[in-house]
Amino acid sequence: MTGAAVSAIAVEGIAKSYGGPNVLEDVSLEAVAGEILGIIGPNGSGKTTLFGVISGAHAPSAGRVVLQGRDITDLSAAERAKNGIGRTFQVPQTFSQMSVYENLLVATKFGAGLSDDAAEVLIRETLELCDFTHRTDAQAGELSLLDRKRLELARALATKPAVLLLDEIAGGLTDKEAEGLVATITALAARGIAVIWIEHLVHVLTHAAHRLAVLGEGRIIAAGQPRETMQLPKVRQIYFGMEPEQHDLD
């Protein structure tokens, strides 16, 4: 990605504490339209918290969130969703009493703000894209964990996001399924969506991401071209030092 492109989403000098010490400290990042920005970091380094701050679930203690040039730090999570921020949850938060169809209906009616007819079309497209057409009527609460994660992705897409935040959606997939997922996300980015993708499976991100940022104890400790970033000694140390069983780079 070129530096000349306008940023779709940016965070500037973000700090966040849940009452105790800062969980995020002076975090600045940006992603442009069409870009896939990967984020890795050990457990508890603040990745999910960063998504909470971007999506409006958590208010930061310092810093700003900027969506397409507009400061959205004071907007509610609902307003941000309407303005183009779509997210998935690491622990699936599907509407368990609703059908797959109704889960997507909520996203299209409120997040995307579509009329019934337009919603219908988008839901069908999304179901096909996420390979869910055979499960439309299934109750979300009765799906397997893997299927609920897929529904998370489908539902986030059904809000018609300009910025898509993915929090560990590849865990538990076979290599072949992970490849399919990378292809899907790459295609979405090619349509102009800015994707920020948290994943513990480093090899997935080195395939998919244009850039990689590494979080360590709430700070960005490295960012850049994925393979180069992974070769940095401080990244290897923090990452492989703590997670010896991780997949190696290919």
């Binding site: 999506s55 409006g56 679930a57 509610s76 999570a77 609902a78 307003e79 969703a81 309407k82 997210r87 949850f89 938060q93 599907t94 509407f95 368990s96 009493q97 609703m98 059908s99 169809y101 109704e102 209906l105 909520v106 996203a107 009616k109 409120f110 997040g111 995307a112 703000g113 019934d116 919603a119 219908e120 839901i123 439309t136 009527d137 539902r155 809000t159």
Partner: protein, 324 residues
């Protein structure tokens, strides 16, 4: 036979409306009064179910709207010495405003705190009415405006008011729950975090539903006390209203539209046949509630639904018939 779900709702609504029209034509005086009372109670229960069953807002001081609705009719009709019937609109308006006024406090609370706060608010209003002499203080007031009204007009007017409130309550439930607002309400109840992340404004949705429920319940309270001709703070703001509402909604099936309808029929059947038994009647009511909830965790309607195999007033949205 499986009809498209909205048509099924229309048929059920039409049957209920037909029943409500036939009662004054065919029924005796006491039947008409009984059905009027049932209609008012059912309207109130449907609205509580809308809040608690669909919206997850367990409003334990719901009698506040019954009381304010009742007092509004009495004060206005007595003040002008005119027919009281149209003033159920005033009841509705006042209760909607009350809901609007208390929502900033309640929307900060959840679960048990919400329930207790709503009950405290109701108690505050009851005590205030108790201390206010213009409102008749502790002794209450009678509907003097009704004295000069001919008996027939009094009966049919009251019945008509209660029946209308019930029809409005049913139509509101069916259409609201199938609408965008109903979808939002179900989503919030299901998973508030996800609902916000999908673009749903929690507070706005809850405030709107709260105002609607308060308005219709207030009109129900107005109709109910027109029938009683007498109102006082001890009864109108009594926790007894909550007991009846809980019985009707939970025994019938909370979080369904059919449940309270079944529940109100069961409640009045028991009351009309057993209330001569005195305190044994209350024990029987309690046992009945326990038994049904043990046998049918989803209420009496949950059991019936298994027999019928389909919802009569469905709210679930399916592809290409989701309009409404």
């Amino acid at each position: 036979m499986r009809l498209p779900s909205i048509n099924r709702s229309f048929i059920v609504l039409a049957v209920i409306v037909l029943f409500l029209i036939l009662v004054p034509i065919l029924g005796s005086r006491s039947t008409v009064n009984l059905v009027a009372e049932m209609a008012a109670v059912l309207a109130i229960a449907l609205m509580w179910n809308l809040l608690a069953g669909f919206g997850g807002m367990v409003f334990m001081g719901f009698q506040v709207f019954v009381g304010i609705g009742g007092y509004a009719v009495f004060m206005a009709a007595n003040g002008f010495q005119v027919l009281p019937f149209p003033f159920i609109l005033l009841s509705a308006a006042l209760c909607a405003l009350t809901a609007l006024a208390i929502m900033p406090i309640l929307s900060r609370l959840q679960g048990a705190q919400f329930a207790i706060a709503s009950w405290v608010i109701s108690e505050v209003v009851r005590l205030t009415v108790f201390q206010t002499s213009v409102l008749g203080g502790g002794g209450g007031i009678s509907l003097t405006a009704m004295r000069s009204v001919p008996r027939e007009l009094r009966m049919y007017g009251t019945y008509g008011s209660a029946a209308l409130v019930l029809i409005v309550a049913l139509v509101v439930c069916v259409f609201l729950m199938r609408s965008r607002v109903g979808l939002a309400l179900r989503a919030i109840r299901d998973n508030a975090t996800a609902a916000e992340a999908m673009g749903i404004d929690l507070r706005r949705t809850q405030r709107l539903v709260m105002m609607i429920a308060a308005a219709v319940a207030g009109a129900g309270g107005g109709a109910y006390y027109m029938l009683a001709l007498q109102i006082g703070p001890g009864t109108a703001f009594s926790m007894n209203w909550m007991a009846i509402t809980l019985f009707v909604v939970i025994l019938g099936g909370i979080g369904t539209l059919e449940g309270p309808i079944v529940g109100v029929v069961v409640y009045f059947l028991l009351r009309e046949t057993l209330s001569d038994l005195g305190s044994v009647y209350f024990i029987l009511l309690g046992l009945m509630a326990i038994l049904v909830t043990l046998l049918f965790p989803k209420g009496a309607w949950g059991g019936l639904r298994q027999l019928i195999g389909q919802d009569l007033l469905p709210i679930r949205r399916n592809p290409s018939e989701s309009k409404g």
